[in-house]
């Protein structure tokens, strides 16, 4: 087509620059600074080219720049495939394409590159603000495409037309979004860089590691309970279990045997809930103690932590049932328990002596030792604080007998150490405790500052029993929340503070909106799609019924839009409408106006037939003729014609 070869006009060049900027600006955070600067320079060059109407740079220079850009991206990332290098390359191409706007075809290519960059942005963030921002980008890019095919309308008009067309495309988007058969990705191997570092509980616990998390109000997961909300003190979200201790750091077992099913018999009342887990970059799934079922594609470690088969890189939702009164591991073998008794040789002599003393007093009676230990902890008047003093090599001794100030990891570590010294198998369990109910949507939100560490002791005949030494000294941490437990004046994350009511109110609302967005827009996966469609009465939704429903509904929308777009409101000329009324009145007197008849000739004929009204007829015909044929008809002639005809009753 000759049209595709037409040169790009100045106005079109401005439009393309605007579209490219709209696509590029949100990405500046994600690409290396040198590229952002280089692209910015290319945009400025483009602006100068358009402003001054300079000649485009020669082709060889552009080829050289493309090669240079590609090599630079490769050197930066050691790859040109994958998320970030791919986007960096797209930015290079977009910036250089703008310097090569020769024909209308180049304009289309540029617009398509902009659309790709919008997708690229979603790889990094999919929040509501991002979505709104990309709406703006898509709007500008679409207006650019409009301008590429017709650059005469003013920019505002162009934007309005683009907005109208996008608004008309909306129903299709909604239908396709809901009904297009979803496929669970990835379709092919994900490049490794998809995984980004996330903060959260780690594989090890040393003094200060959980206290560090208490400064973060990032969300770990959200929970929707099916029934009553259980009391705060029951909300122990089990995470990594750490039996290994090297004198300072607790860590998870390195070789994990895993149960494909729940290995223990469940008992007691159950709690049903759906958990939406934020990506944590680990295999871990969190669940209320003790899990009674396993999410799909997951297993239970030998120390009863649910883990996924794949690293949790995307937000995922799973349904869980917990049995808080279940005793697990009653039949654990001696070998397994030995690991929960191991202590490094030496160190912490006072705690060891204490343990040995308990052992002498109670012998093998684990229950009695446990009770003694709990009583000891409460007698020590330990203080729960976010700012514990630094501890030396014998940290358990120092915490229990000297400083007496610590955070949950100190409590848990000291408690397990003491129990092990007394010959009772014990281990540290990390996870989250509590959470905050959002009154707006009823979800329980668990944040990083809800991270907690507690302990489990193995008692013959009862299995693993949960003991939370923090609860002994700071019951308010367990019964309410972190802010209630730490002394006033300590640094808390902004959102954990309880004094700013209106901010909390606002946050609840924002968070409910975000959660709805996460659940229904971002979390709309094949499973959710099936559930929704089944709920809408589409029994057994599979891709066939979805496609059929999609086709039918799209057809309906298309018909509606077609009718609207092709609407052909024939606007009858008001003067002619009045004239027709007049003719109809005369027709009742058997004077029929024929449409080829001029008004004056007709008036003559009618006046002869109805001489009584001859003057009125002539006046009306005269008015009509003037409205029709006068070079500059009088504005109020129409009104007069109407009044005359309204008062005309032959």
């Amino acid at each position: 087509m000759a049209r595709a070869n037409r040169p790009v006009s100045r106005r079109q060049a401005w439009w393309l620059l605007a579209g490219a900027l709209a696509a590029f600006l949100p990405l500046t955070q994600q690409i290396p600074p040198w590229l952002a600067f280089a692209a910015g320079a290319a945009f400025a060059w483009r602006a100068a080219l358009t402003w001054r109407q300079w000649h485009l740079p020669p082709k060889w220079l552009l080829v050289l720049l493309v090669i240079a850009g590609t090599v630079a991206v490769f050197l930066q990332y050691r790859s040109i495939i994958g998320r970030t290098p791919g986007i960096a390359l797209l930015v290079v191409f977009l910036a250089l394409k703008l310097l090569e706007l020769r024909a209308a075809r180049d304009a289309i290519v540029t617009a398509l590159l902009c659309y790709f960059l919008v997708l690229g942005q979603f790889l990094f963030t999919q929040t509501i603000p991002t979505a709104l921002l990309s709406c703006v980008t898509v709007l500008i890019t679409t207006a650019t495409m409009l301008a590429a095919s017709d650059d005469r309308p003013e920019p505002l008009l162009q934007l309005r037309r683009a907005a109208l067309m996008l608004a008309q495309a909306m129903p299709f988007m909604l239908l396709l979004f809901v009904l297009f058969p979803r496929v669970q990705g990835p379709l092919w191997g994900l490049p490794q860089d998809r995984h980004t570092a996330t903060s959260g509980i780690s594989e090890t616990m040393s003094p200060g590691s959980i206290a560090q998390l208490s400064q973060s109000d990032a969300i770990a997961f959200r929970v929707e309970f099916k029934g009553e909300l259980p009391p705060q003190s029951r909300l122990y979200w089990r995470g990594p279990v750490m039996p290994a201790f090297d004198g300072r750091t607790w860590s998870i077992r390195q070789t994990l045997g895993a149960y494909p099913e729940i290995p223990y018999p469940v008992s007691g009342p159950s709690i049903d809930y759906d958990l939406t887990l934020e990506p944590n970059g680990k295999f871990w799934l969190f669940a209320l103690e003790m899990p009674g079922n396993l999410p799909p594609d997951s297993a239970l470690t030998s120390d009863y932590q649910p883990i996924s088969r794949q690293i949790v890189r995307n937000r995922m939702r799973y349904t869980q049932r917990a049995y808080p009164e279940t005793n697990a591991g009653i039949n654990d073998t001696r070998a397994a328990l030995n690991e929960a008794l191991a202590l490094p040789s030496g160190g912490n002599p006072r705690t060891r002596a204490l343990g040995a003393e308990w052992r002498n007093r109670h012998g093998d009676d684990g229950t009695a030792i446990l009770a003694t230990a709990q009583e000891f902890f409460s007698r020590q008047l330990l203080i729960y604080t976010l700012n514990p003093p630094l501890l030396g090599p014998d940290l358990v001794d120092e915490f229990l007998f000297d400083t007496k100030r610590g955070f949950c990891e100190h409590f848990a570590a000291a408690f397990v150490y003491a129990l092990r010294s007394a010959g009772v198998p014990a281990r540290v369990v990390a996870g989250y405790q509590g959470g905050e109910v959002n009154p707006v949507d009823g979800y329980l939100v668990v944040r990083q500052y809800d991270a907690h560490a507690w302990t489990e002791a193995w008692i013959a005949g009862r299995g693993w029993v949960r003991v939370d030494p923090t609860a002994i000294s700071a019951p308010s941490r367990i019964n309410t929340n972190l802010a209630a437990a730490v002394p006033a004046g300590e640094d808390l994350p902004f959102l954990a503070r309880t004094d700013l009511t209106w901010i909390r109110e606002l946050r609840y609302r924002l968070d409910a909106v975000t959660n709805g967005w996460n659940q229904w827009v971002l979390g709309y996966n094949p499973q959710k799609q099936r559930d929704l469609l089944a709920g809408l009465g589409l029994g057994e939704p599979d891709w066939r019924s979805m496609t059929a429903a999609l086709a039918v509904l799209c057809g309906v929308v298309l018909l509606g839009l077609t009718a609207w777009v092709l609407r052909n409101r024939r606007r009858v000329d008001p003067a002619f409408a009045a004239w027709r009324r007049f003719a109809a009145r005369l027709a009742s007197r058997n004077v029929v106006w024929r449409d080829w008849e001029g008004p004056l000739a007709f008036a003559d004929r009618a006046a002869r037939s109805i001489p009584a009204h001859a003057d009125t007829i002539r006046e009306i015909a005269d008015l009509y003729a003037r409205l029709r044929y006068a070079p500059a008809p009088c504005a109020d002639d129409l009104e007069r014609l109407r009044r005359r005809i309204a008062g005309f009753h032959p």
Binding site: R105, V138, D150, M165, Q168, F172, M173, F177, G185, L561
Partner: protein, 326 residues
């Protein structure tokens, strides 16, 4: 090879698409059934880009990526409607077409009428594979498109198939329609480039020279009248007397001289077309010189006269001359 196949397919499509009863009665309304829509090259790239975006969104489980691709797909559908709407229900009627000489360019006028209350934008109208004429039609108004086409042979030239197309608004799809309006152009024979001077015969000048003097004798001057030939304006006199009125030179005999342009007087060796060319040249020359001229060709005789109508009649007779008609 591929190009030939494409061309053939296109021709087959046109045969199917253009109504058999061409030319069509006016006004031709581009109803839904005769507007065709297909994606352009840009539209195909757009579709491909959409598929790539969809695959990316699926692979990375990007819900917003899905939303983006679905929005753009919706936009693709909507643009089909808009492009179609831009074309549909235009009323076309043939306009006038001034006669031209063979070898010149005929300008077919096509009246495009938009009865809707919003404008039509960026329509392209072209004949055959010719250069497109780009037009917009305002709300409830009409526009005349002048379509140029080379006039090759004398006689009536029927307008060939006319294509109307648009890719507005996004350039992703092209809507087009074919029409064959009842529109013809009269093509006069090309006047011969070199021709002998007018064939004054003893008979022709003798019988008509009322004054009995030479045809070019100067006979005086009078005020200029609009109908007078500019060749006879007394430019030198006008130049001499500043701000004076234009004056026309009168020639005794010249204004009244008449010449017969005769088919049979031409050499036997000349073919039909050559004869027609020569006669056309003479007519123009005679008209330019202000002579009255008559025409005698087999089957037709035009009495001597001059003026635009007479010239038109003469040229028309030459254009439509057929050998069998004698």
């Amino acid at each position: 090879m591929l190009a030939t196949l494409r061309h053939r397919l296109h021709e087959a499509f046109v045969r199917w698409a253009v109504p058999v009863r061409a030319p069509e009665p006016a006004p031709i309304i581009l109803t839904q059934r005769r507007v065709y829509v297909l994606p352009t090259a840009a539209g195909l790239s757009y579709g491909t880009a959409l598929i790539v975006i969809l695959l990316g969104a699926m692979n990375y489980n990007l819900s917003l990526g899905h939303a983006l691709v679905f929005l753009l797909a919706g936009l693709g559908v909507v643009t089909i409607l808009h492009t179609f709407r831009n074309m549909a229900l235009i009323a076309l009627s043939p306009g006038r077409c001034d006669p031209v000489f063979a070898g010149g360019t005929a300008q077919f006028a096509l009246v495009l009428e938009n009865r809707r209350s919003d404008a039509r934008t960026s329509l392209r109208v072209f004949i055959g594979d010719g250069e497109p004429v780009e037009i917009d039609i305002g709300a409830q108004s009409s526009v005349i498109a002048l379509l140029p086409i080379a006039a090759v042979r004398r006689g009536w030239m029927r307008v060939p198939r006319i294509t109307i197309e648009t890719t507005w608004p996004l350039g992703l799809v092209r809507a087009w329609s074919y029409v064959v309006p009842d529109l013809s152009c009269l093509v006069y024979p090309a006047p011969a480039a070199k021709a002998p001077s007018l064939p004054w015969t003893s008979d022709s000048s003798r019988g008509t020279s009322r004054e009995g003097r030479g045809a070019d004798d100067f006979a005086g001057m009078r005020d200029h009248q609009p109908a007078d030939s500019p060749r006879h304006v007394a430019w030198k006199t006008v130049a001499r007397q500043q701000d004076g009125p234009l004056l026309t030179k009168l020639f005794s005999g010249a204004a009244a001289a008449q010449v017969w342009l005769e088919w049979s007087a031409l050499p036997e060796a000349m073919g039909t077309e050559q004869r027609l060319s020569r006669l056309a040249r003479w007519m123009l020359d005679a008209e330019a010189a202000g002579h009255a001229w008559g025409l005698r060709i087999p089957g037709l005789r035009l009495a001597p006269d001059h003026g635009a109508t007479h010239l038109g009649n003469g040229l028309r007779a030459l254009a439509l001359y057929q050998d069998g008609a004698r």
